[in-house]
Symmetry: C2
């Protein structure tokens, strides 16, 4: 939607209502991501796109009704019912079309200012009748108390997705189905080491919404082909790379750093760099208990303080008795979620109190 | 390798040594899975294939040396060094070629008999010098004590992969680099419900080596396009499907059943069916604590006993304060690994004793 935001504001400032159609869910080989947006004006001018082809023609028809009634319309395309327009790729998309009036201008102008300032923010809207909209920034609450946490997770992760309304809860108004359109960069996961464990963790990290960087000084191993799920693979000494990223302002309080090199030559300076960077959300290092003990001694020699060492998750991961790289990736991802969200790692069936806090 | 096993046995019974070349690791868009195998005889007859093209020509050359020396050779293809034969797909594969002599006949005949009997089994071999081979069945130990657990995980999961030797351990002989070639069906993960949580869990389950089935009675939601990572999507009442699979002998002591329907009409009969099936490895149900309490009451009404109810993991997952479908999938996968492998879910940095048990 970012690419049509300026046009939407311009059109509203010109005085008329505009129909905004957005992809809110996709599955299979769908051509666009959630959040892809198209504007349709009262005189049927079209800005942006949803998927190409007959889906857009159908949505332009829908937009006329939406502009007339003010009620949003929800359509699924690609579900093979033999009647509705389909997608040739085998995927399915859900499109919601709604009328945006001039009353939304102040909110949209604030949204644009936040995006321009580089602040992560979510535009959250309900998906039935006359939609309610709210802007949510990390750390803020959404007006729908029971889905606050989910919305916050998505905004923090920079991920656009549907939330709410798929549980059997007593008070449906507290968890309506909403679309969270997230703006701002996703959080980073920086993985030191080029091996099968990093390969598995880069895949799991990507699924969780992280932008994953793999860094290793050995150019034979640190190749894009070895890490098909990483967003970038960097050949450099991990600590030198991390220091440069910190200096460039590309590391923030959501950044996760995991060191899986199995080599003190690389992991000690990398951990020293990560632990002395105040803003990092999570620092972990894989290894045996003996490796851990030796590593802590070396880190102390490097001048890392006890307070800084307390931030180190080592040996990395939850105790799942994980064996394979894929199982180990789950144990690490589970610890990162628990640590950044306040979970305990115990079985929910053995604990009491709310499941979502 | 299964497709060349009969030929390999025939050739050995004929008296001569045979070169066996196998893909042991792949990355990126590699054309074959680990375990793809090719045989080369002393007179350069070739059976099976590795990738097509120039890789095979190079491996046939290698096979001549291997038959002459008896020492295995390890080669990587697709690493762009400007000299060696490459893969056009951008992937990388590692191929190990070794000589198989008539001394291996009894082991290979036993392997064939186990495969024909439908028993899961792994052929494990070291990857340097003159390789050592061993057959490993679930529950048995491998001769390399420090990688026993990893080998057992792979055999149980029906996954072929490299294990060992990538940690800095004092006794390398106890954890040599080996290739585990697994035979037998992978374990099953049966997921009831067609929603975003099942979509995320089907992806994570596939990564962990499960063969994932999604089952839901609602044909609008239970479509292959909605679950691109599931191996099959079944439109049926979940309990009816599970009962039929049990009756057909397609459920075993490795099968995981998770119920995420959010609808008592579907989940109570499904859980009753799963909990009264003695052999299932893990049964879990997603939901709030109130849903859990109500569900347990209904299950008692259906005649499920206290002993059977103790097998139910509900509310499902570890307490990570997981929010999104992807985070929830990690919390469930982590619980499945911990439960089937004997882990506690506590942070490894807070526990003592061995990391792998």
């Amino acid at each position: 939607m970012k690419n049509v935001l300026g046009d939407l504001i311009d059109l509203l400032e010109g005085g008329g209502a505009v129909a905004l159609a957005r992809v809110v869910e996709v599955s299979g080989a769908a051509p666009r991501e959630p959040g892809a947006a198209m504007l349709v004006t009262a005189d049927s001018a079209v800005i942006g796109s949803l998927s190409g082809g007959c889906v857009e023609a159908a949505v332009i028809e829908t937009a006329r009704d939406v502009l007339a009634t003010g009620l949003c319309v929800n359509e699924r395309f690609g579900v093979d019912d033999g009647i509705a327009p389909g997608l040739t790729c085998g995927g399915e998309i859900e499109v919601v079309t709604e009328r945006v009036g001039t009353d939304k201008l102040p909110l949209l102008q604030r949204l644009r200012a936040l995006i321009e300032a580089g602040e992560p923010v979510g535009l959250v809207g309900t998906l039935s009748g006359v939609p309610d909209w709210a802007l949510v920034r990390p750390g803020e609450s959404a007006p729908w108390s029971q889905i606050d946490g989910t919305i916050a997770s998505l905004v923090r992760a920079g991920r656009s997705a549907v939330a709410g309304a798929d549980r059997c809860e007593p008070d449906q108004s507290a968890r309506p189905r909403v679309f969270v359109q997230a703006f701002g960069a996703p959080p980073r996961m920086i993985l030191a080491g080029a091996n099968a464990f990093v390969r598995a963790l880069s895949h799991t990290g990507t699924q969780l919404g992280y932008r994953v960087t793999v860094v290793d000084a050995r150019e034979v191993f640190a190749t894009a082909a070895q890490f098909p799920h990483a967003h970038e693979v960097v050949v450099d000494w991990p600590h030198r790379y991390l220091r440069a990223e910190v200096a460039a302002g590309r590391v923030d309080g959501r950044t996760v750093v995991c060191v899986l090199t199995h080599d003190p030559k690389f992991d000690v300076p990398m951990l020293a760099a990560a632990l002395t960077t105040a803003s990092v959300a999570f620092v972990g290092a894989l290894g045996s208990r003996r490796t851990h003990t030796e590593r802590v001694a070396r880190l102390r020699e490097e001048g890392v303080t006890d307070d800084q060492l307390r931030r180190l998750h080592s040996p990395l991961g939850l105790d799942l008795n994980a064996r394979t790289p894929e199982e180990t990736a789950i144990s690490i991802a589970a610890q990162i979620i628990a640590e950044t969200s306040g979970g305990s790692g115990r079985a929910l069936s053995d604990t009491e109190g709310p499941i979502h806090r």
